[in-house]
Symmetry: none
Subunit: 190 residues, 4 copies
């Protein structure tokens, strides 16, 4: 009864693993956040995802495709959150507060997102094939802001969010919340 040929899940038991591709992409983002794009290798991702090395190039044509998919997912996730934040704002005042919250809270508590964002920008700065990701991201952000502000103000706000977020994360003595509130007010004229 315990012989091998009676085992419904023989040896490794890992013949088919649907969703593996998805899992690899998720894990890849973790690895990037951990060791950077520079340190991200097939080996490391495979190990982190508990997947054989050969699986990597089976599911992805190469590192480039993997990175592209990973950052596409990242961009989509962040954009989703951004949109949700803006969508729940009832009026301009609430929208302003949402923007402040995004700057002061969202990215602040996730070092992970900060790192990933910079890694993506670095990639996009050199490799145009990653621009479509940043483009889509920026486009969605702006569209979400345009629900509450005119196009020009939306652009400015978007850039302000970018700059304040970066500086907040890198600065040795980060600005307080009131600076953010004030800056948003100046731009939006609220």
């Amino acid at each position: 009864m315990t012989t091998a040929d009676a085992d419904p899940q023989p040896s490794a038991g890992r013949r088919t693993d649907p969703g593996r591709r998805d899992r690899i992409i998720d894990v890849c983002l973790d690895v990037i956040a951990d060791v950077g794009v520079a340190g991200t290798s097939h080996r490391r991702v495979a190990e982190a995802a508990d997947v054989p090395l050969g699986s990597m190039t089976y599911h992805f044509s190469g590192m480039n495709e993997l990175l592209h998919e990973a950052f596409t997912r990242f961009g989509t996730t962040v954009s989703d959150q951004f949109e949700r934040r803006m969508a729940t704002a009832a009026d301009a005042a609430a929208a302003r507060e949402a923007v402040v919250a995004i700057i002061a809270e969202d990215v602040f508590d996730t070092q992970r997102d900060l790192v990933l964002t910079h890694e993506l920008y670095t990639l996009a700065a050199r490799d145009p094939s990653f621009r479509d990701i940043t483009n889509a991201w920026m486009a969605r952000s702006r569209r979400a802001l345009e629900r509450h502000f005119d196009p020009t103000t939306a652009r400015m706000l978007d850039a302000l969010i970018e700059g304040l977020t970066i500086h907040r994360a890198l600065d040795i003595e980060p600005h307080g919340r009131e600076v953010v509130v004030d800056a948003v007010r100046r731009i939006t004229g609220g």
Copy 2:
């Protein structure tokens, strides 16, 4: 004067090479701009600098030291330019125009600086040992802005410059100069 075969220009002609360390640092920045920190290796830098491979680990304890020195130089160079821009401004109006010029012109025409900046941010976002570079950079920028604006406004302006510069470089349809002018006016209340 010392040895018998007092040849002023010895055979290989590269016996003593003062400034070699400096040259390596400069070339390293070029290499980073070209292939990214990820693709920057001793070999590549050595070749680009026309320096023997062994020279790399002789002058630098390792890649980390080399990168650190390279980005320190980069930060200093960019800060110098920034300071010079701001120093020549006679009054607040001129200062505002200088800021606009920095955003709309300086980084715009050098893809190189854009790439290097992001590479540095990416490094700093993960590795604290690179924070001192970004800190010094930000501190100098802010001090330069504080010549003309109050500290809070200076902070905001600094962040705005950051965000607008990035978006200008990555955006598929970059904003026009007038958007920059308007944004600077709103923040500075000019």
Copy 3:
């Protein structure tokens, strides 16, 4: 007749594909001519034949079987042509001209055949299991020549054809037709 959706041309349209094995063999020769035996892989052949990868090991026990079948076909094809050439010769003079034509024209205009021949010889030189192909080829050539020449002369002619063909293909300044004519005459005493 069996299932309900008795579609005579089922969805994918490639349910049954008689002659697929044949097509794979043909394509395999093209691949070998293109990238050499060394570069010929299941994957490459499968892709070139527009056949799923799994199909390769279904139809062939392994690369060796595939190569064997491919070169068998190649040898047969070339031998057929050789035989046809010799068969149409009415007398010894015509036979001599046929030999000249084979050397000076047949292989000359197909780089493909030259490459394939050498690949086969290389295989046969090391692996005895490919000797039966070259043996059959040589036997047929000799038999075809023996229609017009005595056995010893046939052997010599066969070797001469071999050598002149190779040198014609590899030589930087190939010999002219008259050299071929002369050599054939000397061997056959025509």
Copy 4:
């Protein structure tokens, strides 16, 4: 006296190994003869030469350079032997006998040379960068033959040697020596 730090050849004792490059090339030919160009890999050659894997790409830019050097050496070696054979022949009769000996003895007793020759031809048939090796080889052979025979005859003889050698090696029932003698006589009119 026998302590480790008194050992002039510390630990591995393989710091500098002049002539290593040469040894690799020689070993490479052995490996090719053994498993073919197709089966020749850095790993296999490194192991056969008792050299670390990293040593391979240190001494050679890649497989192509290694193969090129190996076959260049092979071609030179064989040509040398050929030239020596022909140089020692005092008159035309002796030259004819030398040619016979080359065909009937030289290659016959070295399966190795046969295999290597075919591997080289296969390479040269597809990759023009290997033609210079075969060209040099053929040129030297012909020049050596022209010491004793007129250019046209030399060409024919060269081709005959090629063809008879190949057939002798591949044939299931190889021709006897007398066929070779006869063929050479017919071509040279001796």
